[in-house]
Amino acid sequence: MATQIPKELETQAESGQAVERRTVVQGIGAAVAATALPKFGVMTRSTALAAESGPVKIGFIEDYSGNLSVYGLQKLHAAQLAIKEINEGKTLKGGPVGAGGLGAEANFAGKPPTIGIQGTGLPVVNDGGPKDHKDVVFAEDEDVLIDSGDKGILGREVQLIAPDGQSNNALWQQLARRLIQQDKVDVLVAGFASAEREAIRPIVDRAKQLYFYTNQYEGGVADANTFCTGPVCEQQVIPGVSYMVEKFGPRGYTIAADYNFGQLTAAWTRAFAPLVGGEIIGEEFIPLSVSEFSTVIARIQQAKPDWVMTLLVGQNQHNYYPQAAAAGLRLPMVSTVNMAQGYEHRRFKPPSLAGMHNAIQYQMEVPTNRNRAFVKRWMAMFPNDQYIGEMAQNTYFTIHLYAKAVRLAGTTDQQQVKKALESGWTIEAPEGAVFLEPGTHHCAHYIRLAVCDENHNVSFPRSWPMIQAWWLQRLGVNLIRHPEYKQYVPDEDPYFAMFLKNKSKKT
């Protein structure tokens, strides 16, 4: 493949000149980084590796234009923020220490406690009234960003090479080849839609390229070169559906984007609803190009479900929400993607998203100090941004995680960094602690149930402080002992068929 690249382009790329013609985004403060002196032991080791010089190149592909740009631009800004922080000598707390500790569960009062009762003048502390929900109490960090003692990574400036995938799978393949073969990136962070990931994964595997996929997705990717840092079905579908069944009733109706993500997430929903006493009474798959939903709305009205699982992707499909609201369809909704990623509750007039539930891993409203500090840092750098979604946060902590792993490995050599990543990392992300499980290359996440009300305010009535991505473990995947390069689908697990037969049995 490399022989097909024109000679002059190749040499230009190696000398770093060709980058001018591309979308190269450098973090601010990069110039300072180049002159910084190494302070850590791990870094003196790296200075011995004379071959590793020049900037650390992070290859990054997302969609900054087209149907999926609503997500891509957030992710680009996340990468820019992380790289700026790394170049300024900052890192997120955490290290190869395992899953870390959790807080204690307690009842929460509806209002904060107040001192003194009006009119009495007595110095009494009341308890804030009736306890209206349960949650987890933990010592809250003010912020999780600390000094790394390293400007850049191992004293080298970090550079972002971020071409636009334009929501076009064929272009994604070209760009992935270019980043790997011409730019020779040290790490590839890329992919929104599962179709995009599956389009570039064979290229990644041929080159044994270290690759991070930061999206929420349907799960099942067992690939020795790929690290999946977003949440998957077992972490979101089961908590979300169990809450819906408990609160609104057993009958669900799924509408999903018609590609691998929508199909497989719908399969999870169908298979696992009976486990929590629910049942999927209807399903419809909608092409990404569809933007007119009157037929879909009428079919839902005909089926009369208790709630609707919406797995809608892209700008065209988001039109479902205002159209359904205008047509008077006011059923409770649950999703694994909507609201947390495409911020439909900010883009559409209330009450289009009223009654939306999503067992999210992150969205901008997460009510913790560390997240507020993160949002503040982000908005200082990008004051015009409208929202920070789930995968933007994933991209942010993933790039910090990569920097930490390189520091542990003492080299950007990709095989060494992969080994370093397989050391049981916990990283303190804005969402909470994230644990990268070494054997499956997937992360355990802090999951919160986000609920959108009539006025599009978001609250979090329930949390699950650490849900494992357990399905690949169930299938016996261990990429360290048995490297493989495939995506498992629910059909390969006989238990899915068993669950389906188990209709509406309460567990």
């Binding site: 037929t295 009205q301 559409f348 289009s352 409208q386």
Partner: protein, 296 residues
Amino acid sequence: MDTLGLLASILYQFGTNAAFLLLAAIGLVVILGMMNIINLAHGELMMMGAYIATIVTHRGIPFPLAVLLAFLLVAMFGAALERVIIRRFYGHELGALVVTWGISLIMGQGTLLFFGPFMPSIGIPGGSFSLGAYSFATYWIVLIGVSAILIAALWWIYQNTRFGLMARATMQKAAMAEALGVNTDRVYMLTFALGSGLAGACGALLAPTVSISPLMGQQFVAPAFITVVVGGAANVLLGAIGSSLLLSAVKTPVGLLFGAFIGTVALLLTALIIIRLMPNGVSFYLQRFTERRVGA
């Protein structure tokens, strides 16, 4: 009661599907149907109308006025576009195709640069009402009416005004019209402006129901071209009405029974069959049918 609701629901969807096709196509009916310019920037003209309507509505201007403003501004933009670029490509169909595609790219990406990936949309005006288990959006009922009014107005302009007469003459035989004293240059400009303005107005009308983003226009391009091409060139207005009703009549029941995806497949299949069996479009047969009746 529920049978009544179901009937109303079917009728409502038939209407909304047809109105959507008609609104998506109406600007293209003028530009492709009459001027034979394959205008690939059609979607972006609709996007421009939607942006104008959304921006001014957010500033507190009433929505109907915003639609009117979208019509005027996009028509002016269309006139300027015709003067500067399009008029150099009359008679070069492929050249016009490429140049309008270029314009669409510049408009789409330019909007992305200036306005960012999103703009909060305006809420759908009007409420909803229900019959049995089914509920309906008032706004779509209004849109069905508006699309009928628009097409009737266009018809009236082309049949009953001096401009309409000159336009029809120019489109039929430009040289002869010019010899008879018609300023064909001006007719071309006005026709393109009218088509652009209509695209802008329809974009504005559909704006509350869609998400406002730089590439939103793309979703209208395929339905617009299918409607106009199936309608055929013999009588573009009659064709657009015929084809939107026909395509909706296929899409609605199939969609209801088998889902939106199969509904869209059925629509495309019907378009394919019609273009294969009636290469002159629906309007050719509709016109022949009406002429025969008048003759008899």
